[in-house]
C-alpha cells in the first residue's frame, strides 16, 4: 500500500487553523492526502446538514510525499486532540505518516536537535472503517455562484431565532441577514464593505440554522491574514470559504507580497494558505435536507 508522509514546520499556526473546525463530537473525519493538492480533512456536522473541511496546500509542508490520492477515516475529535497534545510542547516539526503501525495514522513531533535534552511525542490514531462521504464540491455547481463577498463581521451576532435568512439583491446592491421569530433582527451590510459582490438573479433568499452559521464563522481564530468568501447556490446551499495564511516557518514567496493577484479571492490561491470550507444545507422545515446517505 502506498504511504503518505508529510512534515509541517509551522505547528503553531496549524493548531490555530484547526481551531476553526473544533468540535466535541466523535464524528468520522475523512483525511485525504493528495500529491497535487495537499492534505484535507472533511466531516459532516449537525445531523448531516453541514459539511466542513480544511485543506492545506502542499506548500504549507516542508516535506510532502503522497500517492495521487489516499483517503482514510479517523474520529475527528481524536485527531484534533492528538495534534493538540503532541504539539503542546511547541515542537520544531510535526510529522504525519499513514499507514503507521496497525494501520493507524502516526503523528510524530521532532524537537530542535541541538538541545541537550530532546522531547519527542507521538500519537497513533486508530483509523475507522471506510465511510461513505461525498466530497464537498460534489454538492456544488460552480455555475450557480451568485455572490462573492468578504465579510468581516458575522461573528458576535446574537440571533433571536434558530434560523437566519440571507437576502441578496442585485440592484441596488444589497446584502442583509434577517432573523424572523418572536423578535426580528435585520443586519444590512453597507455596499462599500462588500468586496466582489455578484448576484446572478434579481434576488436570492436562503435560510440556515444559526448554529451552523456560528460553527462556520466564529471559530476561525486567526484574524490577521484572513479573508472569507461566501457563496449561495441556486439550490440555497451556502458555502463559506476562509482563507488563512499560515504564519511562521519559511518566508513567504515574494510573489505574494505583490498586488499582482488582484484580490485574495482570486482563484489562484497564494501558496502557504490553508483553506477552511463549510458547506451548509438550507434550513428546511420538513427537515429532509441533508447530504446523501442521511441516516438520522
Amino acid at each position: 500500500m502506498a504511504q503518505a508522509h508529510a512534515t509541517i514546520a509551522t505547528v503553531r499556526s496549524l493548531v490555530q487553523a484547526l481551531q476553526a473546525i473544533r468540535t466535541h463530537q466523535k464524528l468520522p473525519c475523512a483525511v485525504t492526502f493528495e500529491a497535487a493538492a495537499g492534505l484535507s480533512l472533511r466531516f459532516l456536522d449537525g445531523g448531516h446538514a453541514m459539511q466542513s473541511g480544511i485543506s492545506l496546500s502542499t506548500s504549507v509542508f516542508s516535506q510532502f510525499q503522497a500517492p495521487a490520492s489516499l483517503t482514510f477515516f479517523v474520529p475527528l475529535s481524536m485527531l484534533l486532540d492528538s495534534i493538540n497534545t503532541v504539539a503542546s510542547s511547541m515542537p520544531h516539526e510535526l510529522h504525519l505518516q499513514y499507514p503507521g503501525p496497525d494501520n493507524s495514522l502516526l503523528l510524530t513531533t521532532t524537537e530542535d536537535a541541538s538541545a541537550r535534552t530532546s522531547i519527542c511525542s507521538y500519537a497513533k490514531v486508530a483509523t475507522l472503517a471506510q465511510q461513505d462521504m461525498s466530497s464537498l464540491d460534489d454538492m456544488w455547481d460552480p455555475q450557480e455562484v451568485c455572490s462573492q463577498v468578504i465579510l468581516s463581521a458575522i461573528e458576535d451576532l446574537e440571533w433571536t431565532g434558530g434560523e437566519v435568512e440571507f437576502v441578496m439583491r442585485r440592484s441596488p446592491m444589497h446584502f442583509s441577514l434577517q432573523s424572523i421569530k418572536q423578535q426580528s433582527l435585520e443586519i444590512t451590510f453597507p455596499a462599500h464593505a462588500l468586496d466582489g459582490f455578484s448576484c446572478h438573479t434579481e434576488e436570492v433568499r436562503a435560510t440556515f440554522k444559526y448554529k451552523h452559521l456560528k460553527a462556520a464563522f466564529t471559530n476561525v481564530a486567526q484574524k490577521e491574514l484572513w479573508s472569507a468568501k461566501i457563496a449561495i447556490s441556486s439550490r440555497g446551499v451556502l458555502r463559506v470559504t476562509h482563507m488563512l495564511t499560515l504564519a511562521g516557518g519559511a518566508p513567504l514567496a515574494s510573489l505574494e507580497a505583490q498586488p499582482l493577484l488582484g484580490t485574495l479571492t482570486s482563484q489562484a490561491h497564494a501558496p502557504r494558505t490553508c483553506i477552511v470550507k463549510f458547506v451548509v444545507m438550507p434550513y428546511d422545515e420538513k427537515g429532509d435536507a441533508g447530504f446523501g446517505g442521511d441516516d438520522d
Binding site: 474520529p75 510542547s89 530532546s118 511525542s121 507521538y122 500519537a123 486508530a126
Partner: protein, 322 residues
C-alpha cells in the same frame, strides 16, 4: 516529653513559603516527627490520596541553636499530627507582623468540658509566642495526642522505608505529566539507564507517547557499559532498551505523577530525581536542594521524598515488561 525551640528566619521562610504549602496541596494533615537532629514532615498514604510524602529539615535549618530542647522517653523523639492550614495561619501571621524570635513549645492546655462546671480536660497544643512591631502574640495550635512509643516507632519505620531505587533520572520538567492530562487516568512510565524517559497513554482508539532523551542519570555508574541506542523512532528505541533490560517500568496514575511533579514548584529543588524501585513496586521521587550558603554544593539538610504507588498488575494494554 519536652519540646521547645525558636524558629530561625530561614526556618520560618522554608516552612511558610516552601514546604507547608507544598504539603497542603497533597493532604490536609501532616505528621511531625521531632528529634534532636531534625524534623520530619510526613504524610502517610492515608493523609493524601495515595502518595507517601516525607520532608526532612535539619534543626540547623529550622531553629536557633539557643534554647533548643527536645526530650522524650522514646529516643528523644516526639511525634504528633497537625492541621497544615492552621499551622500555616500561625506562621503567616508571624511573617505578616515581622515577628522577632518565634518561639514554639509543646504544652498542655486545660479546657473545660462541655457543660458548665464540668471537669477540665487536658488538650495537647503547640504554643507559639512572638513579638512583632506593635503586637505580642501567643497562639496555641491544637495538635493530636503525642504518639505512643509504638506509634513513634511505626512512623520512624515508615520514614525509613524508602529504599533507594537502582537508578534515578533527573526530570527537570514539571509540566511533563500535564501533556497527557485528560487522556487517561493511567500511564506507563519507563526510565532507562541511558537517561531517557518514556511516558505512554493507551486509550480506546489512540495511543500517545512522549520520549525525553538526554536527562542526567544517577548514580553515574548506571550508565557504565551501555551500548548506544540505534533505534530511529521513540518506539524502536524503547523496545531496544526493554529487550536488553536497561529500563524499568511501571503503570501509575497520571494524577499521582502530576501532583508529585508539581510539588517542586514552591520549593525549587535543584534536581528532581525519579527512580523506579526494584521489581517496580513503587516510584521514588527525591527532590534535591542546593545549599544557599555554598556555590554548587547540594544541601543535605533539606530534602523531600515522595513515594508513588503503582498499579498492582501491569495492565494488559501496556504489554509485559521486556
Amino acid at each position: 516529653m519536652k519540646f521547645k525551640a525558636v524558629l530561625s528566619d530561614r526556618g520560618l521562610r522554608v516552612l511558610e513559603k516552601g514546604f507547608l504549602p507544598t504539603l497542603e496541596k497533597l493532604g490536609k494533615r501532616c505528621q511531625l516527627l521531632l528529634s534532636p537532629e531534625d524534623v520530619h514532615l510526613i504524610q502517610a498514604v492515608a493523609d493524601t490520596d495515595g502518595l507517601q510524602v516525607t520532608a526532612r529539615l535539619a534543626n540547623v535549618v529550622l531553629f536557633e541553636e539557643e534554647g533548643f530542647k527536645c526530650q522524650s522517653r522514646y529516643n528523644n523523639q516526639i511525634a504528633f499530627s497537625v492541621d497544615i492550614a492552621l499551622l500555616l495561619k500561625v506562621l503567616r501571621a508571624a511573617v505578616g507582623h515581622d515577628a522577632d524570635a518565634l518561639e514554639m513549645k509543646l504544652a498542655m492546655r486545660s479546657v473545660p468540658c462541655t457543660g458548665a462546671g464540668g471537669p477540665t480536660q487536658q488538650r495537647p497544643t503547640l504554643a507559639f509566642s512572638w513579638r512583632g512591631h506593635n503586637v505580642t502574640m501567643v497562639q496555641e495550635l491544637p495538635i493530636s495526642q503525642p504518639y505512643s512509643q509504638r506509634d513513634v516507632e511505626e512512623l520512624v519505620r515508615q520514614r525509613d522505608i524508602a529504599s533507594l531505587s537502582p537508578f534515578y533520572i533527573d526530570l527537570q520538567d514539571e509540566a511533563l505529566a500535564d501533556k497527557m492530562k485528560g487522556m487517561s487516568s493511567e500511564l506507563l512510565m519507563v526510565t532507562t539507564r541511558h537517561g531517557d524517559l518514556h511516558l505512554q497513554v493507551h486509550t480506546a482508539g489512540v495511543e500517545f507517547g512522549t520520549e525525553i532523551r538526554g536527562l542526567s542519570v544517577l548514580p553515574a555508574t548506571a550508565r557504565e557499559g551501555l551500548e548506544p541506542i540505534q533505534g530511529e523512532t521513540p518506539e524502536q528505541r524503547l523496545q531496544e532498551v526493554q529487550a536488553v533490560g536497561e529500563s524499568a517500568q511501571v503503570v501509575l496514575l497520571q494524577r499521582h505523577l502530576a501532583k508529585a511533579l508539581h510539588s517542586s514548584q514552591l520549593t525549587q529543588p535543584a534536581q528532581l530525581l525519579c527512580g523506579i524501585a526494584e521489581r517496580g513496586t513503587h516510584v521514588h521521587m527525591m527532590f534535591v536542594y542546593r545549599d544557599p550558603f555554598s556555590d554548587g554544593g547540594y544541601d543535605d539538610h533539606v530534602s523531600l521524598c515522595i513515594k508513588l504507588p503503582v498499579r498492582d498488575s501491569e495492565d494488559a494494554l501496556y504489554g509485559a515488561p521486556g
